[in-house]
């Protein structure tokens, strides 16, 4: 169905657009014109985007969809719906499913399941080592052919430095990207929160900043050696940001992302053992949070991700250190980023870039932009709409969020994937 989106402000950082522009989409689902309708174009449907922002569909570099293996927490269907409810049209899922994505069949299965549901698009990440065990290399080339856009060992550390070097060299030889979760497993030990004032006060085992910096230092040295294109996932400390910035200045091919919640929360939000604030890597000090915000502003960190991890209620109804870490974050992905604009940290176009153009660039994809000829993956939101996040209103199967009860400004009204309106004012027109 051909579509016209009229009256909105188009924010498309990749094409340097931040102005009132109408959009025209053809029946194949491609953008056919920006600004003025093509001659003879008849839209089957026109969406009125007055007072709204129209931007590329959001790209989330890290979201766990729990299928296959953890369907008691959530399913592909429930989470893909939650994604489009949050304006997200492309999701990257880590390979730590059960079984692990270390075979082309697994990679293909996940993509075709997503395709079948017809909501957001999934780019799976392939395993760096077989079964994520950190010993033998995975079939990266085959996984790349099967659609994996990057390679990672997810949260399982690669403790053998030689194996990590080889994995990076192998990835580099095929021009593949490696996504790193740098954390030293011995310094981490059984820690569940930042080692600092709050862990001292609450008597919780802490994860020192050194757990991150020791691992980042090691990985940077190996990146320098192998020149693999690398990306640091979910930086949490000021020191680590400093190290990455310095490496970037030296010309190393490294990028970095931060989770949306790490830009707002700190260890102090744990209060009296609020398990909703149990995340990995942990929420650190105010100084660390402020450094992460500065890094986003200055462009050391160029992408924000949700690190979505939906859980069943029991997973969080345990003493803090026993509770499973993770936040259900798809639906606060855009609102938390817009909060940075409202707090005058960054301008709106930069905020949108952090969720669209830049993640696409990191992955080497052509998405995240709305030029003529681009696939019509679009997000339309009302930047002034006030709304409160409640468990009942969440679409994700996981209601585990420390932001329940928080009021946000900025709400998605329409999400369009490949030219089809998959989410509209709280409803899913094409779904069951």
């Amino acid at each position: 169905m051909s579509l016209a989106i009229r009256g909105g402000v188009l924010v498309d950082p990749a094409n340097r657009v931040n102005a009132k522009r109408d959009l025209y989409i053809d029946t194949e689902g491609f953008v056919v014109a920006v600004g003025r309708a093509p001659r003879g174009f008849k839209a089957r449907r026109t969406i009125d985007a007055t007072n709204k922002i129209v931007c590329p569909g959001l790209i989330d570099l890290r979201a766990r969809l729990r299928e296959p293996g953890l369907e008691h927490k959530a399913t592909l269907e429930s989470e893909l719906r939650a994604a489009v409810a949050g304006g997200i049209t492309t999701l990257c899922c880590p390979p730590d499913t059960m079984p692990v994505i270390d075979t082309p069949a697994m990679a293909q299965m996940i993509q075709s399941r997503a395709w079948h549901f017809g909501y957001a698009f999934i780019h799976p990440f392939g395993a760096l080592t077989r079964d994520l065990k950190g010993q033998q290399l995975a079939d990266m080339e085959a996984l790349d052919d099967a659609g994996c856009v990057a390679f990672t060992n997810a949260m399982a550390p690669v403790t053998n430095t030689l194996v990590m070097r080889r994995a990076m060299e192998y990835a580099a030889s095929f021009d593949l990207s490696v996504f790193l979760h740098s954390e030293d497993p011995w310094l981490k030990a059984d820690g569940c929160c930042h080692e600092g004032e709050i862990s001292a006060r609450l008597g919780l085992p802490g994860i020192p900043e050194a757990a991150e910096t020791v691992a980042v230092a090691r990985d940077l040295a190996l990146i320098d050696q192998t020149r693999v294109r690398a990306h640091f996932c979910g930086l949490s400390s000021a020191r680590a940001v400093q190290m990455v910035a310095e490496a970037q200045r030296r010309g190393l091919p490294v990028s970095a992302d931060v989770t949306a919640h790490h830009l707002h929360l700190t260890e102090h939000d744990i209060g009296y053992f609020d398990t909703q604030c149990h995340v990995q890597p942990p929420l650190r000090s105010r100084r660390d949070r402020d450094a992460l915000r500065r890094a986003v502003k200055q462009g050391v960190i160029t992408a924000i991700c949700s690190d979505h991890q939906p859980h069943e209620p029991d997973a969080k109804l345990a003493p803090f250190s026993d509770a499973e870490p993770g936040i259900s974050g798809l639906e606060t992905f855009l609102p938390l980023t817009l909060k940075l604009v409202n707090e005058k940290l960054i301008p709106l176009p930069q905020a949108i870039a952090l969720l669209t153009q830049k993640p696409a660039d990191i992955l080497g994809l052509e998405s995240g932009r709305i030029g003529v000829g681009a696939t019509a993956d679009i997000c339309i939101f009302d930047p002034k709409a006030l709304w409160t996040l409640t468990a009942a209103s969440m679409t994700s199967r996981g209601r585990n969020s420390p932001f329940l009860g928080t009021e946000f400004r900025g709400r998605v009204s329409h999400t369009i994937v490949g030219g089809r309106v998959v989410f509209e004012n709280g409803k899913f027109p094409l779904g069951r």
Binding site: G196, S199, A200, G203, L317, P319, F320, S321
Partner: protein, 330 residues
């Protein structure tokens, strides 16, 4: 942040989970109440009928005979019915969640749970999920808090030394893993102790410990210099295997309380220990059995203090702002 779980809507203490959030006034009221329970323990009939008809369950997920016994004695002296549940060996180990264990017990109409667990925050989690009439006392949750121990410690100090606002206090031992130390620090702070010192090797001191308002010492003699109160902590023998301290001998040499090290403190300084003691490891027998030790009074005081805490939270708590009392039935 949630409002403080420990207080009900009228500002009265309903759970006893942590010293954090208790005012100096509340702590002193508890100590004063405990004092009147001491005399009950000295009578022929050591019981009062305050909790008659009430059921108290000792829910211990972590074994402890001595703490459980003092709570049992305290509850029985209040005329309550007491049930001991050593969960370590029963349903929890069969994979039942913490909250399910509690729910099953509530169905047996329990009024008060005394909970000990090896995870920080366990007592808070339980308190957040029990029906409104059920009370929770934290008997120790991981390394977070052991508030009744701290209360009996400050009670003992007050009996021996009077006003705490003039005292220097040193806490010696494995601070990092000690719920007793954390609660003691909170209690001493709330009561206005001007100088609180912690003495331990770096490996047993939490990072950022100064943020809790204490001064850290690694040299025990310097740490004890001129103090009025020495509070020793128990060293768990596992610490040696965790690469935290090299050996028992080294630990005793550097951090064991001997008469010679005690002499660095004031001549009338008192010595406390929560027990059970590792004689020859953290404390020398000469000190433990010596004239400055108040370790045995701590045990007696522990019963009175726990009676006071149980009575206060079961009776609707001491009011932070005193409620208008209806005409006292004369």
């Amino acid at each position: 942040m949630r409002p403080d779980l420990q207080f009900d809507n009228n500002g009265r203490l309903k759970h006893f989970l942590t010293i954090d959030g208790l005012s100096r006034q509340t702590i002193l009221q508890i100590l004063d109440t405990a004092k009147s329970f001491i005399s009950v323990g000295q009578r022929e009939i050591k019981k009062v009928p305050l909790l008659r008809g009430k059921t108290v369950v000792n829910l211990f997920f972590e074994s402890s005979t001595r703490t459980r016994t003092t709570f049992e004695i305290a509850a029985k002296r209040l005329s309550a019915d007491v049930i001991n549940l050593n969960v370590a060996t029963s349903s929890a180990s069969k994979g039942e969640t913490l909250l399910d264990t509690v729910r099953n017990l509530e169905a047996m109409h329990t009024d008060l749970f005394v909970v000990r667990h090896n995870r920080a925050g366990a007592a808070h989690l339980i308190a957040a999920h029990v029906p409104p009439h059920v009370r929770i006392i934290n008997a120790g949750d991981g390394a977070h808090a052991h508030p009744t121990q701290a209360m009996l410690d400050v009670f003992t100090i007050r009996e021996a030394k009077g006003d705490l606002r003039k005292l220097k206090v040193a806490i010696v031992g494995d601070i990092q893993h000690s719920r007793v130390a954390r609660s003691q620090i909170r209690a001493l702070k709330a009561l206005g102790v001007p100088e609180i010192r912690v003495v331990a090797p770096r490996t047993l001191l939490p990072t950022a410990i100064e943020r809790l308002g204490v001064v850290a010492y690694t040299d025990m003699r310097a740490g004890l210099d001129g103090v009025d109160v020495v509070m020793m902590l128990r060293l768990q023998l596992e610490r040696m295997s965790g690469a935290l301290i090299p050996s028992e001998q080294e630990y005793f040499n550097l951090y064991g309380l001997t008469p010679e090290k005690l002499a660095c403190a004031k001549a009338d300084a008192i010595v406390l220990h929560p027990g059970p003691m590792n004689r020859g490891l953290e404390i020398d027998s000469a000190v433990a059995d010596g004239p400055q030790s108040v370790i045995l009074p701590q045990v007696t005081n522990g019963i009175a203090v726990r009676m006071a805490i149980m009575a206060i939270i079961m009776g609707g708590g001491t009011a932070e702002t005193q409620p208008r009392r209806p005409e006292a039935a004369a």
